[in-house]
């Protein structure tokens, strides 16, 4: 009587181990999310940052969104945010905004992060967007907590993150 549960647990563990060995976690993975070729296209991008590779990675992410919706799965964390970031860098602020909001809605954990990205999108919507280190101050751009103007590239360098205790107030 006392031996039974133990054996069941062991059997289950064994089955799990064998399963993992055989499928490389593919089964468990499929039921939760669809991540498709995400890692492969991302690696290709990093390895060779040509436009062609970037486009493939964006396509892979768009496919993930489409397939997830088709299969009634939650779009995996980060996909919407990363798509938004691609559009942000390309100066397509309306698109960027749409994606950041989607990430925010789907994952409340992303609130601080997506709010920050949205602030950048707003700040640069009146400008070219992807002009890093531009000295020009966009007209009517929102101010950050220190009174500085945020643009996507500048924002990162402006908003102090490293000096302890000096991080932009965000709560």
């Amino acid at each position: 009587m006392t031996r039974r549960p133990l054996r069941t647990v062991q059997l289950a563990l064994l089955a799990a181990a064998v399963c993992i060995l055989c499928t490389g976690c593919a089964k468990r993975a499929d039921s939760m999310y669809c991540m498709d070729n995400y890692s492969s296209t991302l690696y290709a991008c990093r390895k060779n940052p040509a436009q062609e590779q970037q486009d493939k990675h964006v396509k892979a992410m768009e496919d993930i969104v489409a397939k997830s919706e088709q299969r009634n799965l939650r779009v995996p964390p980060g996909i919407f945010a990363e798509l938004g970031y691609v559009h942000l860098k390309a100066g397509q602020m309306a698109e960027a905004r749409k994606y950041f909001e989607a990430e925010n809605r789907l994952y409340p954990e992303s609130k601080v992060f997506t709010t920050r990205l949205l602030t950048w999108a707003d700040a640069s919507s009146g400008t070219d967007g992807d002009k890093p280190a531009s000295e020009a101050t966009p007209k009517g751009a929102p101010m950050d907590s220190k009174g500085g103007v945020i643009t996507p590239a500048d924002a990162v360098t402006d908003a102090p993150m490293l000096p302890a205790g000096e991080g932009a107030a965000h709560e």
Binding site: Q10, L11, G24, A81, F113, G167
Partner: protein, 229 residues
Amino acid sequence: MNRLIAAALLLALALLGGCAHTAQQSTKAELFPLMYEQKPRSIVVLPPINESTAADAPTYYSTTIQEPLVYTGYYVLPYEVSSDILAHEGITDGHQLYELPLNTLKEYFGADAVLFTRIKKWDTSYAVVASHLTVAVECELKSTTTGEKMWNYSGTVVIDLTSHNTGGGLAGLLVQVMVTAMNTAMADYVPYAMQANAIALNAMPYGPYHPQHEQDTEFKVFVQNASDK
């Protein structure tokens, strides 16, 4: 019967975990109580610290960690975005943040936890037929609120890169050698790197998006006798 199953299980897990010479078994709750107390929901992955001789290792690691981490059930900040932001801050290596207070990451990214990784080894050995990817990493998941270490992994994973060609005879062997050589030369290790990362994350308690979140406290995990032990 019981003993047989236990032996088979041990063997399976030894294979799974690569060259685990000595292993001890504990439950997730015993090993990582802080994970169940603090219940982190979101993780930001820092650029890995590369101590291996492979220049490619950080790229392989950082592009293949997100997927298994997401499947473990956490909200993971997209590495492409977070690492870009960190790079603008001059941070390209997790080492730069190692000694710093982590609450800035909480304020900046809203992440509950931060994943530090030290890549000790990332080697592909190439013998006549067999070819292996050996990955040795030390990972630490730290709380951005308290700075405490909530989870860690230290171990070596060996992945077989050999294509399982079952052709017979010398011709079969030659084909296999050629295919193995090609596999190695083409260096598309992404699936293998992902597998190595997934194995490293095997002992991490499941996050809030995993169906077995908070039901895995009694799950047994094998811990490789690490160098720090």
